[in-house]
Symmetry: C2
Amino acid sequence: MKNFAGTPGTVTGLFLRLFQCLFAAGSIASMATTKSFFNFTAFSYLIASMGLQVIWSFGLAFLDACALAKKKVIHNPVLVSLFVVGDWVTATLSLAAASSSAGITVLYFNDLGGCSVSIGEECQKYQLAVALAFMSWITIGISSLIMFWTLAAD
Amino acid sequence: MKNFAGTPGTVTGLFLRLFQCLFAAGSIASMATTKSFFNFTAFSYLIASMGLQVIWSFGLAFLDACALAKKKVIHNPVLVSLFVVGDWVTATLSLAAASSSAGITVLYFNDLGGCSVSIGEECQKYQLAVALAFMSWITIGISSLIMFWTLAAD
């Protein structure tokens, strides 16, 4: 199994995981502090999906940190297969959540003539949450591709 | 390069491409016959993304059919890399388009108290378009995974 930047147990991999955590946590914080997110199914789904993302990425970041501390490379094929499946599932859920929230944000912000009409000043929080969710998706996407490549090139 | 069901130039691959085309074309047809899709950015984006999907899948279906007719296997690594990138790009765009449209459809159908309030009987067409877009995404997702695996296992 090849060993390159971003595979489990490397510093790049650890940083990717930490960024996923940070972006997802920021997205939850921004969305959960609005007053009316629970009126929108898509926004509630965004929080659920980003919550899953935080748990998953934090768990893998912890594993990476352990592997780095013990200077041991985690390249067990069974474990990597598990990581690949989990990564792909969370990446797909994150993209779907970010897109559906973005659809609604664009609907209110552009299509229905500006933000102040219906949900007021909370718009910027929604937009920030969507932007952070997309950034979280980009980092988990990079991780997923690297993991899949590691598994397939085995 | 391994040769298994779904790789370019096989009957399974051809059928996957044809289903992608059919689902995407059905989604466009269902969405474009509604009266007010152009008021929603996400619905217009769905049509654009499904249009790209139809062109891409039809092109690859044509290539597969040619390869089948000439009994020649297309396993040029450069060509397969190109297919992989194109597949991943269209799959991501399709998922994003389907999710953002689904977000808006759910908003109108559930969150704002039923469909008849704002966009009336056209709701079923929107829902059909979203469902077909998701089915198109599932088939292109299968194709993408197979293609990526083919390339990585080279």
